[in-house]
């Protein structure tokens, strides 16, 4: 060790600092300043109702006190709610997956002419930009309360997701198979059926399972704004301060979501 020690003394005072994460000091301190200003601005402009919030703790205690033990007494209501949620999820997945096939073909640049392509893309973008709850509230306004609004909402939601991924899949297909179909003289439709669809089929089944799972989750939520299913039951339970029933519903939702996630994962593994 000794040689190193003496060397240390000889060259003492060399400095080293960690090179900063962001090299430009203006950007570095600018970012810190912006963050602080933003936080101050956000917190000072947001309308917090502190008096109401102060009541929160005792209320929380009352709510959780009322929620235990969860009440499964109204099992009939629970069953109808979940049954309806499942029906909404199932039907809208089917509808959505079927409708998404033509829309995906429309929105794939390699098989659709430009005007059709733009139309297809527009449909996808529009159905993707809104949260399903917003779509649900509009459909409830248009066609009234009940599962119909839910089915319409989730169909649109499924189209947005499935058609987008499917269109990307079609754009990446092996073009040789399509040319082969063309060379044997197949028409456009036959070209699609033999040259394109077989290539995207496994992906489509996987997507459907995934979509069924996420529609089941979403169906619990769209009910909150009146589009049918268990969400409405939950909303009512909250509205009537039936916290023990609400808690029972929540537990059921969590359980069903876990089971459905497991099943959908298992099926996708089998198919893919």
């Amino acid at each position: 060790m000794t040689p190193v020690r003496t060397a240390t003394d000889a060259s003492s005072g060399r400095v080293w600092k960690k090179p900063p994460f962001i090299a430009n000091p203006w950007v570095r301190y600018g970012l810190v300043a912006i963050t602080l200003v933003y936080l101050y601005w956000a917190f000072s402009t947001l309308p917090f109702n502190w008096e109401r919030i102060a009541e929160g703790m005792p209320r929380a205690l009352r709510i959780f006190g009322g929620a235990f033990p969860p009440s499964f007494e109204r099992a009939g209501l629970l069953w109808t709610g979940f049954k309806e949620s499942f029906q909404i999820a199932f039907l809208s997945t089917l509808l959505g997956v079927f409708l998404s096939v033509p829309i995906a073909v429309m929105a794939a640049r390699n098989v659709a002419p430009l005007p059709v392509y733009l139309l297809g893309r527009t449909i996808i973008i529009v159905s993707r930009s809104f949260h399903p709850v917003i779509v649900a509230i509009l459909f409830v306004a248009a066609v009234g309360f009940g599962p119909l609004a839910g089915i319409l909402t989730l169909t649109l939601y499924s189209i947005g997701f499935v058609a987008k991924l499917l269109a990307e899949e079609i754009e990446e297909i092996d073009w040789g198979q399509v040319e082969a179909m063309r060379s044997v003289g197949a028409g456009y439709l036959k070209m699609l059926i033999y040259g394109v669809f077989p290539q995207i089929m496994p992906r489509q089944i996987g997507l459907s399972m995934y979509q069924l799972d996420s529609n089941l989750r979403a169906s619990a939520v769209v009910g909150i704004v009146g589009a049918g299913g268990i969400g409405g039951t939950l909303m009512n339970a909250f509205g009537r301060y039936d916290y023990d029933f609400a808690f029972a519903i929540l537990l059921m939702i969590i359980g069903i979501i876990l089971v459905s996630e497991g099943i959908s994962g298992w099926v996708r593994k089998k198919v893919w």
């Binding site: 060790m1 190193v4 240390t8 003492s12 060399r14 080293w16 600092k17 960690k18």
Partner: protein
């Protein structure tokens, strides 16, 4: 002075990997440990700094018992044992300097570690050692931008930053090309004599073991079956260690006689 007595390591209910090993190393000697894969070389090395828990036996470093240490006592004795790994084990996304300074983690406070404010003596020591092995100009480069040989030098410097009383090297040259691995071996050899530091090297390459170390220990099936000077390490010993398992690596070319400085350049 490292003294290993009757060291046993057994994983679960399987056959022991180490079957009552005895070894003592003193002064500034460079000891190479040779043996086929699975002979227990790596396990033995990791028992010394307790990355692997020994099942029974005793390991003493300068009269200090290492087995059964817990918590901060264990961390304090790990500080005194430097280790160099086969895969370098650098932190890729940090700079060379941070990697080097991380050898001081056992000494500095958490706050110093967090803010990278290491004591000036540590920084001086880091620069001196890096200059000594020729990597000082890389101080602020990210570790993953260096070549294999340079990375292993960073790892050696990191281990030396600990001011170790012994240096362990687990296949330090196995991931390097022949020329670079000779440079690293020579570096370990010269550093050992400069700092009067005992060095234990696990190595596959028998030629390098003969060339760069003062003593060869041969292991097979968790037992020591050879212990002697490189000149005594003959074909019989080789057969006893590797016989019927696999052939050891042999360098074909004539050993090049460079000075340490050349090797570092």
């Amino acid at each position: 002075m490292l003294e290993i007595t009757n060291l046993v390591k057994r994983y679960g209910r399987n056959d022991p990997v180490l079957k009552g090993l005895n070894l003592s190393v003193d002064g500034s000697s460079v000891v190479s440990i040779v043996g086929a894969s699975g002979a227990g070389k790596s396990t033995m090395l990791r028992c010394i700094n307790r990355l692997v828990e020994p099942t029974s036996g005793s390991i003493k470093l300068n009269g200090h018992e290492l087995v059964n240490l817990r918590g901060s006592e264990l961390r304090h004795s790990r500080r005194r044992i430097g280790m160099v790994f086969q895969g370098f084990n650098l932190i890729d996304r940090l700079t060379v300097m941070e990697n080097v300074l991380s050898g001081r983690l056992g000494y500095v406070s958490f706050f110093q570690a967090l803010t990278r404010r290491f004591p000036q003596t540590d920084i001086n020591r880091a620069f001196n050692l890096m200059e000594r092995v020729g990597i000082a100009h890389y101080a602020n480069k990210r570790a993953d931008q260096l070549s294999g040989g340079e990375r292993q030098r960073v790892a050696v410097v990191r281990a030396l930053m600990q001011e170790p009383e012994i240096l362990l090297a687990d296949e330090p040259t196995a991931s390097l090309d022949p020329k670079t691995s000779q440079q690293i071996m020579r570096l370990l050899q010269t550093l050992a004599s400069e700092m009067s530091l005992p060095v234990l090297i696990n190595i596959h390459n028998v030629t390098q073991a003969r060339m760069y170390t003062d003593r060869i220990v041969g292991m097979r099936h968790g037992q020591m079956i050879f212990d002697g000077a490189p000149k005594d390490f003959n074909q019989d010993a080789l057969d006893a260690i590797y016989g019927g398992i696999e052939s050891p690596e042999e360098d074909s070319g004539e050993p090049q006689h460079q000075t340490a400085q050349e090797a570092l350049a």
